[in-house]
């Protein structure tokens, strides 16, 4: 359940940046190959944000698709998960995207 630690670091990072201004929306980018489960993040959002400026905020998660370059045939391939093969059969893949764990933006209310 590292998602709770991840969500606590979201609260840390956001409050460090915006102080005690009321946060009404949080937008996260979570890569499909990041090892973090969006549903688990949603599950612990209320718990992690209780009694913080993020309490009651809307949580939006954009999932970033997995993409890799095959180091065998140099083709770019889409990946649904980390156990993937290129169409040429090689598993020797260099991940290009899908490992993101990022806060893209937050929306705050100026009515303090």
């Amino acid at each position: 359940m590292h998602e709770l630690a991840i969500m606590e670091s979201v609260v840390d990072a956001v409050t460090e940046r915006v102080g005690d201004v009321k946060v009404v929306r949080v937008l996260l980018e979570i890569g499909k190959l990041s090892g973090v489960v969006p549903d688990a993040l949603r599950f612990c959002f209320d718990l992690a944000t209780a009694e913080t400026p993020l309490e009651g905020a809307a949580l939006e998660i954009v999932e970033i698709p997995g993409r890799a370059r095959c180091l065998q045939c140099l083709a770019d391939v889409d990946l649904e998960d980390q156990i993937a093969l290129c169409v040429c059969g090689s598993a020797n893949l260099d991940f290009l995207s899908g490992q993101e764990l990022r806060i893209r933006e937050v929306e705050v209310s100026s009515n303090v």
Binding site: M1, H2, L4, A5, I6, E8, S9, V10, V11, D12, A13, V14, T15, E16, R17, V18, G19, D20, V21, V24, G35, V36, T52, D81, Q82, I83, L85, S90, A91, N92, L101, R102, I103, R104, E105, V106, E107, V108, S109, S110, N111, V112
Partner: protein
Amino acid sequence: MCSTCGCSDDAHVLLIDPTSEHRHESHQEHRHDHNHDHHHHDHDDHARDDNKRTIRLEHDLLAKNNLLAEGNRGWFAGREILALNLMSSPGAGKTTLLERTLRDLGAELEISVIEGDQETARDALRIRETGCKVVQINTGSGCHLDAQMISDAMRSLNPAPRSIMMIENVGNLVCPALFDLGEAAKVVIMSTTEGEDKPLKYPHMFRVCKLMILSKVDLLQHLQFDVDRCLEFARQVNPTLEILQVSAVTGDGLEGWYGWLRSLIAQRATAEL
């Protein structure tokens, strides 16, 4: 990064020195420390029609841990210490492999150990029996070690320059894979009493590791474990994974593990030239 995981605010991280049974709570900052005293009443100039505004953060969630890990890496490099992060599910034989390694190599190489478990100093006490320097981290409800815990522990342990530091992570194939500790390499230990498809079920772990040690091979004669299939699954997830098969009880294959350690030490020496 907050160290607590699956936890509440009262989860404590404990550092235990088994030689003195001295305990102290780690001084990790927690999110409630970040409350600022100043107020933000001066943002009206930027207010949109609905009094809401969007702030781009583009903040990498692992950035704080990664920064601390790079600090640890520099600390190790300055002392020419080879740090290894050993990970596995609970019961795969990490501590037994370490005990045997310390007994076999103790005269040749100086090795110290950081033990990570949720509770008790039992593993650290086992390691101390071999005569090696050891410190125990209890993560409480946390399910992995992070870079801040290692930073505290390594300073408490104060390992000798040019030594090896073995970090035995909390038994867990999921969370520890995500947290860089500043180690030179990650090692996953998987035992023959587990399912041979573990690499497929926990690909993140097997992907980030440089070496996989298949342990308890002395039990193969009693098991239905297909070694070739297991290695095939592991290489499917990580084609560059190095793989060794060992028994810490009979000693089978241990020379390969010791050779791997010596080769990393030799590489470190070459890198310094």
